[in-house]
């Protein structure tokens, strides 16, 4: 895919590389549309200072919205597994493969994302360490929310009280983790100036060639060449210092 931008006497051709399928993008936004009401309605029950809006019929409706959104939230991965099982499997494998570059990413994240030092970021595959951590937390969250939420929904009063209390605790803890992850994800994917194409890719499904080179070198160049380039870069950096 390419887009041609013309000015008076020259042409710039941008090569766009597909990153997400249409279904993945649609499901991502459906997931977001389910996550936000889930988080907000959950927060209304969680935060004591919001008790005024959690009361009576309003509170009952808040709990109903939470349930409806939960079904959509849980339905998204199921739908993905049914419609594009091979893509899902491929992504799942990528999400779970962590290596030495991930430690370097964690080390380089602050100088790179906050101080804008480009050289400190090791090559990354199609999903960088942060994206993969978000995905892992989200998968873990879906499982924990699913188990704790469904048992509290359907087995309240039918299971021992201590078990219900434990389920509520698990639900709350997972909420804290996923919501903090969501804030970070939102910041990096939507607000951060260097990551502007991540929003583009979730809208149009593509990233530019130059963006892929910069942010996903392992994916763009392949493992061997990306590694060589990184090592050469490191050696040059060492010589300078």
């Amino acid at each position: 895919m390419s887009v041609r931008l013309r000015d008076r006497d020259s042409a710039i051709a941008i090569r766009w590389i597909p990153k997400y399928t249409t279904l993945e993008r649609v499901l991502h936004w459906v997931h977001t549309a389910a996550f936000l009401p889930l988080a907000l309605t959950g927060f209304a029950i969680f935060a004591p200072w919001l008790s005024d809006i959690a009361q009576g019929a309003a509170g009952t409706h808040i709990r109903l919205i939470h349930r409806v959104a939960a079904i959509i939230f849980g339905g998204v991965p199921v739908l993905y597994a049914i419609l594009q099982p091979r893509r899902m499997w491929m992504n799942a494998k990528e999400f779970l493969s962590f290596g030495k570059y991930d430690l370097l990413w964690l080390k380089g994240a602050f100088p790179y994302y906050v101080l804008g030092r480009h050289g400190e970021m090791p090559p990354q595959p199609r999903f960088n360490t942060g994206e993969r951590l978000t995905a892992v937390v989200l998968v873990l969250g879906t499982i924990v929310f699913g188990i704790t939420g469904l048992t509290m929904w359907f087995l309240k009063g039918l299971m021992p009280a201590w078990l219900f209390q434990l389920m509520l605790f698990g639900h709350d803890i997972m909420f804290l983790i996923t919501f903090i992850m969501f804030i970070i994800h939102f910041y990096l994917a939507v607000i951060h100036p260097m990551m502007w194409q991540s929003l583009v890719s979730m809208r149009f499904g593509v990233v530019s060639e130059s963006y892929a080179r910069e942010h996903h070198a392992l994916w763009y160049y392949g493992e061997k060449r990306a590694k060589e380039m990184w090592e050469a870069h490191q050696a040059a950096h060492k010589d300078q210092t």
């Binding site: 959690a54 009576g56 509170g59 009952t60 109903l64 009063g157 009280a161 804030i183």
Partner: protein
């Protein structure tokens, strides 16, 4: 002296007539046996219904105790204990359950959203959830409120007023404790109930029900030393902690953005 009121329950005088159950239903407009709609079940005991439920805020439980020396048929008036440290109040996200006047744990049905946390955190398993629709989650909690409409107007709870055996009384908590202690003294010294004891004076910071028991609490199915649920305390820590964590993350993101704006040169951004 505190203005806390309490219910005195002398199980040695209770004859299990269950007038209190009926008076409670009558005053609080709770349904009893409704043919075809609310059936009752007999399981070989006089105990009926089998547990507290949204329509039954108090009931008499029956226990048989044979300790080798004498046989006792024990009757216990069950219902909300109106604890000083009430887990139900602490976990209620709507303030439908509150510490009301005179130490009464009050309940406002209109404020309840049916989450049911109270029913799951009460150490005595008292609040019962009236599940209207399990799928939508529509429900209302329900429990004894010491006839808050009567007692806040200087009247006795309906059950106390109706008790024909004089087993129930209502008044200042300190007075009820003194009355229970002297009754226990009498039961021990003159009537041969060596194990007679007062229950409710100290449990969970002091209960709103002061029981005179003729046998150890366990014989009545009462927890000897009821505990405030650990998870309720954890929730109280988790709630502020979570909000600080959310706020901190947002603040960190804003700060990072301000710094990044200065440092990132957009002409270098791919």
């Amino acid at each position: 002296m505190s203005d806390r009121l309490a219910m005195y329950i002398d199980t040695s005088k209770c004859m299990a007539c269950r007038g209190c159950q009926v008076a409670c239903k009558q005053w609080n407009d709770r349904r009893g046996y409704v043919p075809g709609e609310r059936e009752t079940r007999n399981t070989g005991s006089y105990e009926n219904p089998l547990s507290l439920d949204p329509e039954t805020w108090t009931r008499i439980t029956f226990h048989e105790l044979d300790d080798g020396e004498r046989f006792q048929w024990l009757f216990l008036k069950e219902g909300c204990m109106h604890c000083t440290h009430a887990a139900c109040v602490e976990v209620c996200p709507t303030h439908a359950l509150k510490y009301g006047p005179h130490g009464i744990v009050t309940y406002e049905r209109d404020l309840c959203n049916g989450c049911g946390y109270c029913s799951q955190f009460c150490p005595f398993h008292v609040p019962k959830l009236e599940v209207i629709n399990r799928l939508t989650g529509e429900a209302k909690s329900s429990k004894c409120v010491f006839c808050q409409d009567r007692t806040t107007n200087g009247l006795k709870p309906a059950c106390v007023k109706t008790c024909p055996a004089g087993a129930l009384d209502w008044g200042e908590r300190d007075g009820m404790i003194a009355q229970a202690q002297s009754r226990v003294e009498l039961l021990r010294s003159a009537q041969g109930f060596a194990q007679a004891n007062v229950y409710g004076e100290t449990q969970l910071g002091g209960l709103g029900r002061i029981y005179v028991l003729t046998a150890p609490p366990a014989a009545y199915g009462l927890p000897e030393n009821p505990k405030y649920p650990v998870m309720a305390a954890v929730q109280k820590v988790l709630q502020p902690l979570g909000q600080v964590a959310f706020g901190g993350t947002v603040l960190a993101a804003i700060t990072a953005w301000i710094i990044a704006r200065r440092n990132v040169r957009m002409e270098e951004v791919e």
